[in-house]
Subunit: 270 residues, 2 copies
């Protein structure tokens, strides 16, 4: 087993290249990304649901290895290439401020939209130009927890393989497929072809997202569209049903991940 | 009207002292904080609901002033001291990466717990050791949108007057009172004295947060307890009702702000 103690190791540069300021470009070029922390890496090593998100190897400190061994059977762990690193090297590699001693280098692959339709999804959520990395990760986690089949992101959304998004999914990245770079017009067209009713969350919907609406639409398959943090959704075809979440108080709107939590939980758990 | 163009102006130092690395201490010492951006500052200038969150003065660029004048009547705007600053000075002052040309220096004051009880609240939410500034702001925004009467934060929670939290409330900081530094045992005791039933959100609740539970408890006043992002809630008295949000899929838990959105919307909008 390798044991890296030098702060000049090319492994540090390799990891930082995937999480640093030019990380997005490097992640795309290499089809690779970094997962940090015990919970996230455990899910990466043990979940078998998402094709293409394979773990290439795992960097661990001595204490990180102990944590992994407590969470994963040794038979399972033996399948992966573990590279021991010193605490100093881990600190140099890590993106988070308090590294947990475990970093996985993974290959990245998004599901294709055609594969999503082929899977005959029952409930999916589409996010248009979502910008905040934490929001993107949180909606993947929420969609997982609410039994949704997939999350779709528009072009010009934040890169879901950036370290903050991966961390915010807390492992759900390995539980539920994500389709990225999907143009909203194309998505709406293909949903029509595939007979999936769509509902767009907007501030002024013709429908109110209340319990009678939820009970009416939740039994059928459905797709739910959410907009950008500041601008909401773009102008949509008039035949697409617009839905507003009822509100009290003085807030003009909800955070997009909060709105998604309300909608996905009602629709998914109904 | 003052017009600040020098990058050596003490005003820059004053603003940065309230948002920088030692910001928390300075905010406490001065009972002051910074609000940035048109939407947030507009709410600070026009909302009259929260005692003690007064605007001391507003720094604006020329384009920032135009934006403010579009949003707020000149009679309302004349009540405040406006300080003109150059674009360069604004960039030096601002905490956000793309400043909108408007920064308000505000006095900070939390509501006292005794004043909260005196207001006979119908619905309140309590957050124990919430750590992420974005989560703290988001739950204030959600509580506002769901018609809750107040948000309470435990000691050892993130400072709600830090710039990221203020920004994440998108003005709701001026719509709904926040009580800070409240010990959980004290909160539970005082809720008992004030006849407010409490419900604690935990992974393994004896009650499931489903529609029949919601319809049973929502008509009465209630308080809802949420825990830390990683550790959840501490051990609680056995007589306190524990409630779990039902989940599907493979996620172990929800983000605390997502969980709060599901609960506060169901309870507040029932």
């Amino acid at each position: 087993m390798e044991n890296i103690t030098s702060l000049n190791s090319p492994h540090i540069e390799r990891v930082k290249a995937l999480t640093g300021p030019r990380g997005k470009k490097n992640r795309e070029t290499e089809s690779a990304f970094i997962a940090e922390g015990i919970q996230t890496v455990r899910e990466a090593l043990t979940s078998k649901l998402i094709a293409g998100l394979a773990v290439k190897h795992v960097y661990v400190t001595e204490s990180g290895l102990l944590k992994l061994q407590q969470e994963i059977s040794s038979a399972n762990l033996e399948k992966y290439e573990l590279i021991m690193v010193s605490d100093q090297v881990m600190t140099a590699m890590a993106d988070s401020e308090s590294p947990q001693g475990i970093i996985a280098l993974c290959s990245s692959k998004s599901m294709k939209l055609s594969d999503l339709w082929a899977s005959k999804p029952n409930k999916i959520a589409y996010f248009w130009q979502i910008q905040d990395p934490g929001n993107a990760g949180t909606v993947i986690r929420t969609a997982d927890a609410c039994g949704f089949d997939a999350v779709v992101f528009s072009s010009d959304s934040v890169d879901i393989f950036n370290p903050k998004t991966v961390r915010s999914t807390v492992g759900s990245l390995w539980h539920i497929p994500a389709v990225t770079d999907v143009n909203i017009d194309e998505f709406i067209n293909q949903a029509g072809v595939n007979n999936l009713p769509l509902y767009a969350l907007t501030g002024e919907g013709e429908e109110s997202f209340n319990s009678s609406f939820v009970s009416r639409v939740s039994k059928q398959p459905s797709g739910w569209l959410f907009g950008n943090e500041a601008r909401g959704l773009p102008t949509l075809p008039s035949e697409l049903v617009k839905v507003a979440i009822p509100m009290k108080g003085f807030a003009e709107s909800l955070n997009v991940a909060s709105a998604a939590a309300i909608v996905l939980h009602s629709v998914g758990l109904y």
